[in-house]
Symmetry: C3
Subunit: 109 residues, 3 copies
């Protein structure tokens, strides 16, 4: 038995939780803020058998890897809005920091 703690961006957490539960992984979401990742983030606790760790990691990697995203920049305030042509910019989104912890024993009551 292992306990996986995955810290990821809020925006990726529902997709990841759905992908994990679709493969019968049980997850619990902790409310967390700041630190490992720049934006608001979430920590998922995933309990899994030793032989399922690699599958869980694959699902995390597929759903949370850091990637680039084109976003429309906020238009500058007080500028000449008429002549302003927003140019999409590339930002890094996603990413996950993952700890796999050993478990001494596991119970369900």
């Amino acid at each position: 038995m292992k306990l996986i703690l995955a810290v990821l961006q809020d925006k990726d957490s529902n997709r990841l939780a759905d992908a994990l539960s679709g493969k019968d992984f049980k997850t619990t979401k902790l409310s967390t803020t700041g630190g490992f990742l720049k934006e608001g983030n979430t920590t998922l606790m995933i309990g899994c058998n030793d032989e399922s760790v690699d599958e869980a990691l694959d699902i995390i990697r597929d759903n949370c890897s850091q990637r680039e995203q084109m976003v429309a920049p906020i238009s500058p305030m007080g500028g000449n809005a008429d002549s302003y042509i927003p140019k999409p910019i590339n930002v890094e989104v996603g990413g996950a920091t993952v700890f796999v912890l050993p478990v001494d024993s596991f119970f369900q009551f």
Copy 2:
């Protein structure tokens, strides 16, 4: 030293925290949502000596085991309320998912 992480239903968390502190266990409550259990849930972190793990588990089992509860169903909306006789139904409540984690070292400052 062990760190016990117990994921349980919100409704059981105060009773369990009280029962644990009555036996001098120290607990910290994490705000958590969804996953291991169907309803809103809470995660308790319990630090304890190796020789007290079994006592802590007994207290968790006694206060959080899955059990059946008779509840009055919600009366159907828009139905004929006069002729509606609510029949109590049995639902499963409670339950706990418990991980006992090894601890390398422990400090109090």
Copy 3:
């Protein structure tokens, strides 16, 4: 790799998080309540290399140790406010409960 879980008072958490990030430690803050410490508290998760554990512990000790603080007592309600001279009192603040957990493996995606 180790995962340090430090439970501390809310009032110390920003100072500690800043001190840790100033030394390139990555932290994530969990919303927690009650238990190990009397007042509202916070749990910081700190991932660090084995050889950096002692440095992280020193930073936690320096920023969160239990200490005495002089506080002005709340003036008694309904009393004779004119003749009331508030006498500062000593209270214990701070303190941290710290678990260092072994980590099987660690990933960043």
